[in-house]
Every structure is written in structure tokens, then in C-alpha cells.
């Protein structure tokens, strides 16, 4: 009995103490509170892994396994060095003090749940769905952004929000990163061992995102659906091959200057989400769903939804015809460009791939 009295007294005293500190929020305070996603900024960031073969601590190794050569012997792919740092790292050899911010306070990396009805005007395969979105910093209006590939630039020069080193003379290391791999492929016959190095200088991934949403019973595929925008911009990509320590007796460098890749996978607005699933027999199955054919219930139509045999708008269902026109004009497209391809001191000029649209893609893995 005494115990109960004691416990009750203690509990009451605890309650009375803490409750006094809680106060109701006023209407005006409540209006400042909004439901939010999560924003991430990496501040003064650097990461490096280094195998023993390239000067790391004794016993360090980082291997990718599961690859076999034509004689079914294991091929060991070891990551001699991986780094992600601030710019000016001299291909990963001068990392001290080379720090980078990933994301800005006013344009961070975000993890958010979006309303599918507010994306692409409420149409497409995410209608009435919640969409999980993981996004890198966004692209901005050219007046507020920076050139996406230049190693130094000032505000108003492009659409990337990540700033290069010392942008506008602010003395700040910015949000562009150096990244690279030095990889050794080691075979059973060690005379065949190969070193391959890849470096990206002053790079950013602004505008990239991964959006994921579920399917319902009316969908042709029950797999999880996604739309991916994979942007990678770099002032220069450098490939070379050296001895297995990654730095001596290197061959000529192959360089891609002002590299810009905007890879669009899936286009939910036009019912073309990308799906990745595993088949009943355990094989990987990747699809970009086919563009709906004329007459498909999902394609808007005025009457029949048919397209004339000559392909002209006259004679076709105008609403459907314009929907396809909109797809080819405004649908998501892949662009890749390089301003100058160099091999050693030779220059091979620019090359680009613009406006690639995927209308249907299906890949299934097979056992070999």
C-alpha cells in the first residue's frame, strides 16, 4: 500500500513538473509549421579508400568479386583508390585540404514524398500515387546559375546551382567535386593484369533524381515503377592506364573536356515508367514500358483515337495526334556532349548525342 502511495506521489510530481512547460501553439505559430521532406547538405566533405597496392594501409583491399574470365577463372577487380573530394586534387594525388560541399543550404539534396497528381499536370502513370523522390540539387534559371561544366564561372553563366571553386570571387571551395577510381583487374595469369584509372574533375550532378512509385492491379506490370534523371557534368573526364600502383609508367591520357550527360530513363507522363524486377527463375528484367499505341485507353482522344495512314493531322483524331506530337516535342530526352575529345596532345574535336528518346526497352539477363 505504502509503495503505491509512494509511486503515485512520484508520478504526480513528475507530471506536474513537465506539463507546466508545455504551452498551446497559437494559430500564427501553427501556420509557420509545414509538413516537409528531408534535406541533406554534406559540408566540407571528403572520402577516400585506398588499397595497399596504391599506398594505403597494409592489408587494405577493396575487391569486387563475381566476375570470371573465358576459362571460368575468377577475375578480381580491386579498387586501388576511390576518392571524392574538392577540386584541385590533381587526379586524387593531392587530397589534403581539398574539401567539397554537396548541396547548398538553399538547394540541398532532398528526400521527399511528392503528389503524383501535381507532377506532369496530373496525367501519366503516377496519377493518384505517392511518389518517393530522391533528388540532387536542382537546376535553376540561367540568371541565378553557373555554367555546368566550366572549372570557374560566375553567377548568370548557366543553369547549375552547384558553384565552382571561388565562384564570384567568394573564396569558397564550392559544390563541384573531383572523383576517381583506380582499378586493377587481376587474372589467374598475373601477366595479364590491367590497370585502368578514371577521374572526373570539377563535376556535379545537378538536376538528377530518382522517383519511385507503386503499381495497382490495372497496370500491365506489377513491378515497382521509376523515373530516373541521371545528370553528370564535369569540366574534364580523364582515362588512363598505368602500372598496378596506378601512378607510374602511365600511357597517354584520354580526355573528355566539358563532358555533359543528361540521361533520361522512363517517362511517367507518357505512361513509360522504367521497371526493374526479377523473373520467376531469378533473372534480372529491366524495362522501359512501351509508348501506348494509338487507340490505347490511356491516350487522350476526341473520338476514335486513330492516326491516319499518311500520318497527317488531317484524317487523324486531332487530340491523339497532338498528344503524340507533344511526346516527341516535350518528352524526356537523353543528351550527351563533349566539347573536345583528346588523346595525349592530339585533339579530336567535339561530339554530341542529342534528343534520344527511348520508346521501348526490355533487357533480361541470361546465364552463360
Amino acid at each position: 500500500m505504502l509503495q503505491r502511495i509512494f509511486l503515485t506521489t512520484a508520478l504526480f510530481s513528475a507530471f506536474s513538473m513537465s506539463q507546466a512547460e508545455l504551452a498551446d501553439l497559437t494559430e500564427s505559430e501553427l501556420s509557420d509549421v509545414s509538413g516537409e521532406g528531408i534535406a541533406l547538405v554534406f559540408e566540407d566533405f571528403q572520402i577516400e579508400m585506398k588499397g595497399e597496392v596504391m599506398g594505403g594501409d597494409t592489408g587494405n583491399y577493396f575487391k569486387i568479386t563475381g566476375i570470371k574470365d573465358s576459362s571460368a577463372n575468377d577475375v578480381s577487380v580491386s579498387i586501388g583508390q576511390y576518392y571524392l573530394s574538392g577540386t584541385g586534387s590533381n587526379l586524387g594525388t593531392a587530397l589534403d585540404g581539398k574539401l567539397v560541399n554537396l548541396g547548398r543550404l538553399n538547394n540541398p539534396i532532398t528526400i521527399d514524398v511528392l503528389d503524383g497528381n501535381s507532377l506532369s499536370g496530373g496525367t501519366g502513370s503516377w496519377t493518384d500515387k505517392s511518389v518517393l523522390a530522391i533528388a540532387m540539387p536542382t537546376q535553376v534559371a540561367a540568371a541565378n546559375g553557373y555554367d555546368c561544366t566550366a572549372a570557374s564561372s560566375n553567377v548568370g553563366s548557366g543553369t547549375c546551382s552547384s558553384r565552382p571553386d571561388n565562384a564570384d570571387g567568394n573564396g569558397f571551395h564550392g559544390e563541384r567535386f573531383d572523383m576517381g577510381y583506380r582499378i586493377n583487374r587481376e587474372f589467374t595469369d598475373s601477366t595479364k593484369d590491367v590497370n585502368l584509372n578514371f577521374h572526373a574533375q570539377s563535376a556535379n550532378m545537378d538536376g538528377s533524381y530518382l522517383r519511385l512509385w507503386g503499381s495497382d492491379s490495372s497496370d500491365s506490370s506489377q513491378a515497382m515503377k521509376m523515373e530516373i534523371q541521371m545528370n553528370f557534368y564535369a569540366n574534364k573526364l580523364v582515362f588512363d592506364s598505368c602500372e598496378l600502383n596506378g601512378v607510374t609508367a602511365c600511357g597517354e591520357q584520354v580526355g573528355f573536356e566539358n563532358f555533359s550527360m543528361e540521361l533520361a530513363l522512363g517517362d511517367a507522363k507518357y505512361y513509360q515508367p522504367m521497371t526493374i524486377d526479377v523473373t520467376d527463375t531469378g533473372f534480372l528484367h529491366i524495362m522501359v514500358q512501351p509508348l501506348p499505341a494509338p487507340g490505347d485507353a490511356r491516350v487522350p482522344k476526341a473520338s476514335t483515337g486513330t492516326i491516319a495512314a499518311d500520318g497527317l493531322e488531317a484524317g487523324s483524331d486531332g487530340t491523339s495526334w497532338n498528344w503524340y506530337k507533344d511526346y516527341y516535342t516535350n518528352g524526356r530526352k537523353t543528351n550527351i556532349s563533349v566539347s573536345n575529345l583528346t588523346v595525349g596532345s592530339e585533339s579530336f574535336g567535339s561530339s554530341s548525342l542529342q534528343g534520344l528518346q527511348i520508346q521501348y526497352l526490355e533487357v533480361t539477363s541470361h546465364e552463360i
Binding site: M17, A39, E43, N106
Partner: protein, 197 residues
């Protein structure tokens, strides 16, 4: 009976101590400062001391396999370690699984810190600290200096069934990872709310 009195006396003395607690007034509270943040170190290990292995031991040769206690390095263990299977399809779709298989080894880290931080004009964000950032409170996760892997490995695979013991099991290993050594890191991860869902 004596024991009961003894308990009673102890309890009364505890109650007497409780009386020493008093509500703090606002002035008193203002003077109290708490240490902000925590520092964490951690270690995750799989099968470090071995576990029951059901694999290739078939003592009488007639088919039924026997469980033995052993470590992943033991010869009979052709498969060993933790397995994580995920299926993202509904039951009407294809029935395969994504798998992280044969996870074993150890990961450890030291010096992960978590604290709240107010962005002020003295912070360096290339001007953003004066723009949107000033006065904003963020969760600062100080990344550990080193993440240490000790013979840490796993395979990424696709599989027809959740478990290797299920009927009709086939599995394709896409690639594996085998890490030993330290990964060096520096910097902070700042977490704060954003967006308009």
C-alpha cells in the same frame, strides 16, 4: 516484521529526498546549459563466432544433411553468412527476389557525432549562410574519420525464391564485394526539413 520497518524507513527517506526537487523558475532555467550532442561508435559483425551450418555434411550418404557448428572459413561451408531477400512485386507479378547474400565480416566506426547547430553568419557556405541559412537550426551529423572493414563481404544476387532451402531455388550472383581496411572520411552531414509535400 523488522524487515518491513526497514523497507518503510528506506522509502520514507527516499520520499524525503524527493522533497528536495523543486520547480525551477524561468530565471533559473536560463542559466542551465546542456552539453549538446552525442558521440557514437559502433560495430556490426556477422557470424564472427560461427553459427549452425547446414550444408554439405551428409554423414550416412543417403541425402539428409546435418547441421554442424562452424565458421564461414570452415571447408564445408559453401554458403555462409546473413541473407536479406526483398521482393518488390505484388503477388500477380513476376516472383523473383533481390538478394544480399552471404554477408559476413565486420564493419566498425568511431567518432560519429550528432548534435543540433544553428547556422550563423560566421559559418562558411560561400554566402548562403547569410541568405536562407542564417538562423536556421540543422541536425549536424559529424561523419566518422574512419570506417573500418574487416573481411567484410557480400554478394548482390537475384533469386527465384526467398530462401536457398525453398523448392525451385535458383540464384544468379550479379557481383560481390570483399572489403578489408579503412575508408577515410571527413565532413559533416547537415539534415533539415524542406519541400512541400
Amino acid at each position: 516484521m523488522k524487515f518491513k520497518y526497514c523497507v518503510l524507513v528506506i522509502m520514507l527517506s527516499l520520499v524525503a529526498q524527493l522533497h528536495a526537487l523543486e520547480l525551477m523558475n524561468d530565471e533559473g532555467l536560463e542559466k542551465v546549459t546542456g552539453q549538446n550532442g552525442v558521440s557514437l561508435s559502433g560495430e556490426l559483425s556477422f557470424n564472427e563466432d560461427g553459427g549452425p551450418l547446414t550444408d554439405t555434411i551428409d554423414p550416412d550418404g543417403v541425402g539428409s544433411l546435418t547441421s554442424t557448428w562452424g565458421a564461414c572459413s570452415d571447408a564445408q561451408a559453401s554458403r555462409c553468412g546473413a541473407r536479406l531477400s526483398v521482393k518488390l512485386n505484388k503477388d500477380t507479378g513476376s516472383q523473383g527476389w533481390y538478394v544480399l547474400d552471404e554477408m559476413k565480416g565486420k564493419i566498425s566506426f568511431e567518432g560519429l557525432t550528432i548534435k543540433s547547430r544553428e547556422i550563423t553568419a560566421t559559418d562558411t557556405f560561400g554566402g548562403d549562410e547569410n541568405d536562407i541559412g542564417s538562423g536556421m537550426t540543422v541536425l549536424e551529423i559529424g561523419l566518422p574519420d574512419k570506417i573500418k572493414y574487416e573481411n567484410f563481404s557480400y554478394n548482390v544476387a537475384t533469386s527465384s525464391t526467398a530462401r536457398p532451402t525453398d523448392v525451385g531455388f535458383t540464384q544468379q550472383v550479379r557481383y560481390g564485394v570483399d572489403f578489408n581496411g579503412s575508408v577515410n572520411m571527413q565532413g559533416n552531414m547537415l539534415v533539415f526539413p524542406t519541400g512541400n509535400p
